[in-house]
């Protein structure tokens, strides 16, 4: 009885899944959450402590915020057949600029002393991040380089630039107001999470309420045809790379604020890979055109849930990499028409 009901439920689920892009990412996330609850019974418990929500779920959401941001930018770049593998380096640069502009030294009053006002430091970091994005975009559009190659340059040089800014040191920030970005709470929720959600919402609105979404899709599906049809594809491409740089910049602020320092070597390490993975997990085609912003957000959450789960289950955290690799292989194969055909063929016989 039970199995029959389960079966019919499963078949409706698969029907719905075929129709809805978000089905598989959400199912994966739900399964991961289920496993997390099994590993750690109190996983879903939320409590109100000291004027804000606390719990493992909030923790996962909070830690996923930088990746959510970068994945948002990465989704748009991948949607127009691009790729930005320099985001990790941009995270490091943005963190370094912010820490440099705030400056700071140990001692009395250090918690309130900043070399420049907080707004200037943030604007400076984001400005540099946007310039990084602009550089990538111009290399792709003006110099006509392949996106991987164009962004590889900044990926290689970027960490060197970040180290140049920090003079090879890990810059520690003592200025208390800066900590709010990565550790603060607003209306009971982590501020970083709110920023990530707001950015994603804003992008969603721009994509759905203006012609932008259509433009992005058309460039991704056929750049030449959309150019001929009058879409300003070059301008849009540059803008999207700038936006991707900006999201990496915000992620850099959040990360450096969270750990109260800027580490040019390790901030945002492997971020580009995680972001691409999140985007792929979310059902965005890596060949451009078909994209899902919500999917990427879910993808980022999947990765963070996975990480948290592995941390709490007592397995060495480094094994995370193996699990991620298996995930990427699985997602890639599921997206490949050749693989689907190979799997479907035996079914056709029976």
């Amino acid at each position: 009885m039970k199995s029959a009901r389960l079966k019919s439920a499963a078949s409706t689920l698969t029907q719905w899944g075929a129709a809805h892009q978000l089905f598989w990412p959400l199912l994966t996330l739900a399964l991961l959450l289920l496993v997390s609850v099994l590993v750690q019974p109190g996983f879903l418990r939320l409590s109100w402590v000291g004027g804000h929500l606390q719990g493992n779920l909030i923790d996962v959401l909070n830690r996923a915020a930088p990746l959510m941001l970068v994945s948002t930018g990465m989704t748009l770049v991948i949607a127009i057949r691009g790729l930005d593998i320099s985001v990790g380096a941009v995270v490091a640069i943005s963190a370094a600029v912010a820490a440099l502009l705030i400056g700071g030294s140990v001692g009395a009053g250090a918690e309130q002393a900043s070399r420049f006002p907080l707004g200037v430091a943030i604007a400076g970091a984001l400005g540099i991040a946007a310039i990084c994005g602009l550089w990538n975009g111009l290399l792709v559009v003006k110099a006509g380089m392949q996106p991987i190659v164009a962004t590889l340059i900044l990926m290689v040089a970027g960490r060197g630039i970040a180290q140049l800014i920090t003079d090879g040191q890990i810059l520690t920030v003592y200025y208390a107001p800066y900590f709010f970005i990565g550790n603060g709470y607003f209306a009971g929720l982590p501020f970083a999470l709110i920023v990530a959600v707001l950015v994603a919402l804003a992008v969603h609105l721009v994509l759905t309420r203006t012609a932008m979404g259509l433009f992005v899709r058309s460039i991704g599906i056929n750049p030449v045809a959309s150019h001929v049809a009058g879409v300003r594809s070059r301008l849009i491409t540059v803008c999207l790379y700038v936006f991707c740089g900006l999201t990496a910049g915000v992620a850099g602020l959040i990360i450096s604020s969270n750990v109260k320092s800027a580490d040019a070597n390790n901030a945002g390490q492997l971020m580009e890979l995680d972001a691409i993975l999140a985007v792929a997990l979310g059902g965005t085609a890596l060949t451009g055109g078909r994209f899902s912003l919500a999917g990427s957000i879910v993808g980022a959450l999947i990765l963070q849930t996975l990480t948290s789960m592995i941390y709490s289950s007592g397995v060495p955290p480094e094994v995370n990499l193996v699990v991620k690799a298996v995930l990427v292989f699985a997602v890639m194969l599921l997206q490949s028409p050749e693989f689907r055909r190979m799997v479907k063929r035996p079914h056709a016989h029976s």
């Binding site: 380089m145 190659v149 890979l273 990427v328």
Partner: protein
Amino acid sequence: MRIPNRVDSRFVPLIVTISLFVAMGTAGSVLYDGFFAPQVFLNLLIDNAFLCIVAVGMTFVILTGGIDLSVGAVVALTTMISAQLVARNGISPWLVFPLVLAIGALFGMAQGYLVQRFRLQPFIVTLAGMFLARGLCYVISTESISINDPVYSAIAQARVPLGGHASLSVSAIIALAVVAAGMWIAHRTQFGRTVYAIGGSEASARLMGLPVDATVVRVYMFSGFCAALGGVAVTFYMQSGYSLHAVGLELDAIAAVVIGGTLLRGGVGYVAGTLFGVLILGTIQTLITFEGTLSSWWTRIAVGALLFAFCLLQRLFATEGRERPPTSTAAPRSAGSPSVAHR
């Protein structure tokens, strides 16, 4: 006039690379005392032997229009497996060498199969391969394992004298042998010609009846093998296995290949150029060491700037080729125009 022109356009990137290397060497010799010594130049090879070995494998992958991001991780995995087997399990190094080389080749072959059979993007496949190999390193051990085996220390200390006070290490000689083998494979075998044909236009290569599928798999297999061999060279150099060995090596290898004049689109390039690409990267490091006042991160910035310059140069050649497609040998690969078969 046609023939010299053709030769020119094919060799220009290589000539630029070699001239740059000579110029950097000359500048270093003029600026710094003791720079112009045979051993300084041989040290370039000794210190970058593993990079050179890995970059030769990478050259073939890039010539087909693909990319292999897993090489650094495969190097680390090789050092880890070697260290685990030799130092902890006491297995003879002479058994371990062929074993790790086979593992590297198999790893590359699996990636090549995924790329070829399921039409997956090489970038993503080898990215996942990188995760997998690094993760497997950590599964073996999260800490560094030192190798005290006499065979390793003997090979690490062995120097082949070249007259005067100059000498080469075993790894450097392996690197030179790999470069020579790579040149022979690229220019003198059917496999090599197929690699160039795939890079020029996969569709045309298929129409010509070339074994495209098998070649793609073998190219990744070769890259995996080279990465494992590079890993063996690293174990000689470092005498340890560690999960964090060779982090970012894939970027250096790609940079060496690009600076060596190989087009990232595939189809154009030389293994010999890659050797000079590696030497240029080594020279940058040596120059910065000799300068003394510059910090190590200038290396990365300089490599990035060089990459930028060479990519721009490549674009220049590619656009030139597009303007006069019938005469150019470096015609860019464009999907949907399989007119390359005009020969």
